[in-house]
């Protein structure tokens, strides 16, 4: 059974663990922090604890302090709505909230009546070591985010614990650290004794890249859309990377080749992972999709198959991660449906998109139905059909075919009016990038819009 503290103990103590714009923190600083907070760590030993902070350094410190000591650790993004928080507390049976005040661990009990009696007994046994469950909300592909319970094992399946070679890497944090992808980068760095460079969250991308250059960052993980943006910045010429990792979106041949060209000495890896499936597998040959042999022979102890719906199914070696609550993550045969539609071409398996029909715009999910509802509520439109169009910058963009109520209206004027309305109601990436005026939309026999 591993936990973060145990791993840190094996890392040379003077090694820098974390760099922020104002501080450098060594691995020994982290162990010292743990020692100083021993009393309060023991006070919440074995409990189900939530972590919520908008300070990235505090967040990392809390993970180190609590992993291995609390039973369940609910990780909540700071911008979470209060009602959602309450629901998560109930579902994950959270007893207490943990936070840092000037690097001192503080905690607050949640309504004592909600205590589970079994956990109550555990409170008396102090200083136990637990294999802490990391409870992480999904990104809400299905609109209602669910909680998935992981362990350090399922979160780090492809993270090699190799301090010898791993410690020379200085990882730049580009993802939101409070979510699955950001946690991956943090764990990748800390579990191999590397350095994590955390930029200020208010930095522009340009400042972030300059900060990485200044701090000699040599390993970066980002979505394909984020990489495209980085490559469009003149500052990217000064990045010297040994490790380039892509994830979170379909990595096409174009971006992969562009990265090979830009960083000829870097190891380029596309990681297939999700909050639900944990770390699936990685593809290292610099090509889009993955080799057919993964499907026929499995990869790293994971088995793969394609469902009747043409979605990729993953069967982890052990059933570690699970949904909290009354949802079943696994099919009867132990496979998890990833919801990613795939296609076999020759000796390769390629990703085509999501089976939910959701559109991935630069890593952000858009539900066409939501955009259609907003378009219709503008009162200028009689019918609307929203779909994805491939795009070299963001992977996909949102397109809409609409039937105007007033067919004689000034098209340019009404277009701007509709988009302005959408911008008020929707986040920018959801607003149709292309708006086509059509005479009619195809309706299926069941009276629904025909979707391709």
């Amino acid at each position: 059974m591993i936990n973060l503290s145990k791993i840190i103990e094996n890392i040379p103590i003077n090694k820098v663990a974390i760099i922020t714009p104002t501080r450098e923190i060594t691995y020994s600083d982290l162990l010292k922090l743990k020692k100083e907070n021993e009393k309060n760590i023991n006070a919440i030993n074995g409990m189900n604890v939530s972590i919520r902070t908008n300070n990235r350094l505090d967040f990392v410190m809390l993970l180190v302090l609590l992993d291995g000591s609390v039973k369940n650790m609910l990780i909540m993004p700071p911008e979470l709505d209060i009602e959602v928080c309450k629901r998560y507390f109930q579902e994950a049976n959270i007893n207490c909230m943990a936070f840092l005040e000037f690097e001192k661990l503080e905690y607050r009990y949640i309504n004592e009546n909600t205590y589970d009696t079994k956990t109550d007994n555990d409170f008396n046994i102090k200083n136990n070591i637990y294999e802490t469950s990391w409870i992480i909300p999904t990104s809400g592909t299905t609109n209602i985010p669910k909680l998935v319970s992981h362990t350090l094992m399922s979160l780090t399946r492809t993270t090699k614990i190799d301090i010898e070679s791993g410690s020379k890497f200085r990882w730049g944090l580009l993802y939101d650290i409070y979510r699955f992808a950001g946690l991956q980068v943090f764990l990748q760095s800390i579990m191999s004794g590397g350095t994590l460079i955390i930029p200020d969250q208010n930095f522009y991308l340009k400042d972030t890249i300059n900060f990485f250059i200044e701090k000699k960052c040599n390993a970066l993980s980002a979505t394909p859309s984020f990489w495209r943006k980085i490559l469009m910045l003149p500052e990217s010429d000064f990045l010297k990377l040994d490790i380039v990792t892509l994830g979170g979106e379909i990595a096409d041949e174009f971006i992969l080749q562009a990265l090979v060209k830009k960083f000829p000495n870097a190891k380029i890896t596309h990681i297939y992972a999700s909050t639900e499936a944990g770390v699936g597998f990685s593809v290292k040959d610099g090509r889009a999709g993955f080799p057919l042999t993964f499907l026929t022979d499995g990869v790293n102890g994971i088995k793969l198959k394609i469902s009747d719906k043409k979605t990729l199914m993953i069967k982890p070696e052990k059933r570690i991660q699970k949904y909290i609550g009354n949802y079943n993550l696994y099919e009867n045969d132990g496979y998890i449906d990833t919801g990613d539609i795939v296609e076999i071409k020759d000796d390769r398996v390629y990703f085509l998109g999501r089976d939910s029909g959701s559109i991935n715009v630069g890593g952000n999910k858009v539900h066409p139905e939501e955009v259609e509802q907003v378009l219709l509520s503008s009162n200028l439109i009689f019918a609307a059909y929203v779909y994805a169009k491939k795009n070299p910058i963001l992977g996909n963009i949102v397109c809409a075919d609409v039937v105007l109520k007033d067919k004689n209206a000034d098209k340019e004027k009404v277009k701007l009016e509709i988009l302005k309305f959408c911008r008020k109601k929707l986040e920018n990436f959801k607003v149709p990038a292309i708006l086509n005026f059509v005479e009619d939309l195809e309706i299926t026999q069941s009276g629904k819009l025909r979707r391709n």
Partner: protein
């Protein structure tokens, strides 16, 4: 010709996304992501140009490149123009 079309479409997209031009002029050395359009804006610009010009040069390039400046952006469109002699 293409340059003028790109400039014109650029201004239309700026208007569409309700952003302002952050430089005095779209000269060749303007850094794209500092021009006023963000990456979503450029995604829209490329889609809009595909409708107007009839091609998306980024899908046609043999060597993958991402343009950094306005000059590079225009030259990709000029280089890949299927109608050029």
């Amino acid at each position: 010709m293409i340059r003028e079309k790109i400039k014109e479409t650029f201004m239309e997209v700026l208007n569409q996304v309700e952003k302002k031009l952050l430089v005095s002029d779209l000269s060749d050395d303007v850094v794209l992501l500092e021009s006023g359009l963000d990456s979503l804006g450029f995604a829209i610009l490329i889609a809009a140009l595909e409708e107007k010009l009839g091609y998306d040069p980024f899908t046609m390039l043999e060597e993958p490149v991402y343009p950094k400046t306005f000059g590079e952006f225009v030259s990709i469109y000029e280089k890949m123009n299927p109608n050029k002699l």
